[in-house]
C-alpha cells in the first residue's frame, strides 16, 4: 500500500529528505531539516492532498523534536514529518499560515514544552491557567513545576 506513496514522497521531496523510514505498510516517518519544514508541509498538504491530523512535540535526549502527522485516507497511510533541534531554546517555523487547523496544536506546544513557532499568527497562551509562570513547561523532563507553582488557596 505504502510503496507507491513512498515513491511519490521521495520524488517530490527529493533532497529535502534527511531520513525516511517505513515502519510498516501503514506508517511512514520522514525527517527533514527545520529550514525545509514549510516547503515539505506545502508539498504534502497542498500537492499530495493529505489531511492534517495533529503534531506531537517532545523533549528528547538531546534537544527537541516535533512530529507533524499527516493522514492519507485513500491510501491508508499515516506520514509523520519530523523536525528536530539540539537547541535548549527550540524554535521552528509555524505551519499555521499554510494549515489553519494547526493553530491550536502549535499554541499548545508553546505552552507545554516552550517550543516557539516563527510566524504564528496568534501566539497566545492556550490551555494553561493565567496564573501559571511563563518559564515553566510541564511536559519537559521530570517535574519542572515543583517549587515554582503555588497552590491557589
Amino acid at each position: 500500500m505504502s510503496e507507491k506513496l513512498v515513491h511519490d514522497l521521495t520524488a517530490r521531496l527529493g533532497a529535502m529528505i534527511r531520513e525516511l523510514s517505513v515502519k510498516n505498510e501503514r506508517r511512514v516517518y520522514v525527517e527533514v531539516a527545520p529550514d525545509d519544514l514549510r516547503q515539505a508541509v506545502r508539498v504534502i498538504f497542498e500537492e499530495m492532498g493529505a489531511r492534517y491530523a495533529t503534531a506531537t512535540g517532545m523533549q528528547v535526549q538531546d534537544g527537541f523534536e516535533v512530529l507533524h502527522h499527516f493522514v492519507f485516507d485513500s491510501q491508508r497511510v499515516v506520514v509523520s514529518l519530523r523536525v528536530s533541534t539540539e537547541s535548549e531554546e527550540p524554535e521552528f517555523d509555524s505551519i499555521t499560515p499554510l494549515i489553519t487547523g494547526a493553530e491550536f496544536i502549535e499554541r499548545e506546544m508553546r505552552d507545554l514544552l516552550g517550543i516557539q513557532f516563527k510566524g504564528h499568527p496568534n501566539p497566545k497562551r492556550l490551555i494553561l491557567s493565567d496564573d501559571w509562570p511563563d518559564d515553566v513547561y510541564p511536559l519537559r523532563r521530570g517535574r519542572p513545576w515543583e517549587g515554582k507553582v503555588r497552590k491557589q488557596v
Partner: protein, 393 residues
C-alpha cells in the same frame, strides 16, 4: 456597534468546557474567539508515569463519552509500536463496545439539539431511548460508561454469550425508535426551516481546519477511520459510511441519525459472526520505538502517538481528541449568522452544546448584562415557535 457575547465556560454537560466570545453587530455574529483549557488535567504527563497496562484507564477518562475510543486508539498505537497481533474475537468485542458508545453519544446529542430548538419532546425521547443502550453496556461490561474493556493485545474480559439474544431483541426495538426519530426530523418543515442552509462549512474550509467525523461527512467529504484505516472488526462486517453534501447543521443532524442505524447494523452483525476463541494475546514486553493509533470516535478521529524506550512506561504519549480540530471551525460557521442560530451551530459540531446555559449577552459599551443563557435558549426556541405559527402548524 459591536457587542461581545461570552458563552461559557461552565455548564452542566460540559464535554470540554470552553469560552466563546461572540462579537455581534445587532443580531449578526461578526467574529468569534475561542478560549479552552478549563478542563486541562495534564493527562499526557500522567500517562508518562503509568505502565503501558495502566494507561488505558487514564485515557478512558479523557472524555467520559468517548471512553471506548480513546483506549482503542491508544492500544492500537502500542500494537503498532510492538507489532502485536490481536485475536479475532477481541476485535469483534472492540467493535461492539465502540458502536454501543456511538449509539448513546449520538442519541445524547440529538436530545440536546432538540432542547435548544425548543423541541423538548425530542430531548426526553432521545434520552429515554438512550437508556436501554446504557443498560446493555452495563450488562456486557459492568459499567454504564468507562468500560475498562481495552487492553494492549486484546480485551480485558469476554462478553457473555447468554446475553446476546436479549441484546439483539433490544436492538430491534431501538431500530424502530430510531426510524421514528429519523422520520420526525426529516419530515418536519419547521426543522428544515431552522436548520437548512445554517452554519455552512464548505469542503475547502473543512479541509483547512482538518475537521473530522460527522462535521466533515456532512460537508461531502466521506472520510471515516473505520473504513479508511480498518481496525477492530470493521473490515469483517458489512456497513456503509454515511455522508451528505449539504454542508449545514441539518446535514450534520442527518449524518448522526443515520449513523445510529449503521451502528445497530454493525452490532447485530458482530454478535452474529463472533466465534468463541482467545481474547488476549498475552503481551509481556514493549520494545523501544514509536507507534500511531487512530480510531473513529462519535465526534471524529481520535489520534494517539506513543513512544517507548524499552521500559514499562511510555516516555511520550500524545492524545488528540476530535473536538480539538472541530471546534475552531466555528470561526467559519458562525460568522455572518444570526445570534439566534449561534446556539445550534455551535452545538452542531457536538463540542459543548452545553455552554449555552451559562451564556450571557453583555453590552460592550456599558458592560451591563443584557441577556443571560436561559434567555438565549428562549430566543432560539421562540424563533422555532414563530416559524411554526407562520407555517400554520
Amino acid at each position: 456597534m459591536t457587542t461581545i457575547v461570552p458563552i461559557g465556560p461552565f455548564h452542566p454537560l460540559l464535554e470540554e468546557p470552553e469560552l466563546f466570545r461572540l462579537h455581534v453587530d445587532g443580531e449578526t455574529v461578526v467574529d468569534i474567539e475561542v478560549e479552552i483549557g478549563w478542563n486541562h488535567r495534564g493527562i499526557e504527563k500522567i500517562c508518562e508515569t503509568k505502565t503501558f497496562d495502566q494507561v488505558p484507564f487514564v485515557v478512558e477518562r479523557i472524555c467520559g463519552i468517548c471512553s471506548a475510543c480513546h483506549p482503542t486508539a491508544y492500544v492500537q498505537a502500542v500494537e503498532d509500536l510492538a507489532d502485536i497481533e490481536v485475536p479475532e474475537r477481541a476485535l469483534y468485542i472492540r467493535s461492539v463496545i465502540t458502536e454501543l458508545e456511538r449509539l448513546h453519544s449520538h442519541l445524547l446529542w440529538l436530545g440536546l439539539a432538540g432542547h435548544f430548538l425548543g423541541y423538548n419532546t425530542v430531548f426526553m425521547w432521545a434520552w429515554k431511548y438512550r437508556e436501554p443502550v446504557l443498560d446493555i453496556c452495563e450488562e456486557l461490561t459492568g459499567n454504564r460508561n468507562n468500560y475498562a474493556m481495552l487492553k494492549v493485545g486484546g480485551v480485558r474480559r469476554d462478553l457473555d454469550e447468554s446475553l446476546f439474544p436479549s441484546v439483539l431483541e433490544r436492538m430491534d426495538d431501538l431500530d424502530k425508535h430510531l426510524n421514528m426519530l429519523v422520520g420526525a426530523v426529516t419530515d418536519d418543515p419547521v426543522l428544515h426551516a431552522r436548520l437548512k442552509g445554517v452554519g455552512i462549512l464548505t469542503p475547502e474550509a473543512a479541509r483547512a481546519y482538518g475537521a473530522l467525523g460527522p462535521t466533515v461527512r456532512a460537508s461531502g467529504i466521506p472520510i471515516d477511520v473505520r473504513r479508511d484505516h480498518p481496525y477492530a472488526a470493521y473490515d469483517l462486517v458489512d456497513w456503509d459510511v454515511i455522508s451528505v453534501d449539504s454542508c449545514d447543521v441539518y446535514g450534520r443532524a442527518v449524518v448522526r441519525l443515520l449513523e445510529c442505524l449503521e451502528s445497530v447494523k454493525i452490532i447485530r452483525r458482530c454478535l452474529d459472526q463472533m466465534r468463541p476463541g482467545e481474547i488476549d494475546s498475552g503481551v509481556k514486553e514493549i520494545p523501544p520505538g514509536e507507534g500511531i493509533g487512530h480510531a473513529e470516535a462519535p465526534r471524529g478521529e481520535t489520534f494517539h502517538y506513543v513512544r517507548s524506550d524499552g521500559t514499562n512506561r511510555p516516555i511520550r504519549h500524545k492524545a488528540r481528541a476530535p473536538t480539538y480540530m472541530n471546534l475552531p471551525t466555528c470561526r467559519a460557521t458562525t460568522v455572518g449568522e444570526s445570534i439566534t442560530d449561534a446556539t445550534i451551530i455551535l452545538a452542531s459540531v457536538d463540542p459543548c452544546y452545553s455552554c449555552t446555559e451559562r451564556m450571557g449577552v453583555y453590552d460592550a459599551s456599558t458592560g451591563q448584562k443584557a441577556l443571560d443563557g436561559k434567555q438565549l435558549i428562549k430566543l432560539s426556541q421562540e424563533k422555532t415557535r414563530q416559524l411554526r405559527e407562520e407555517m400554520g402548524e
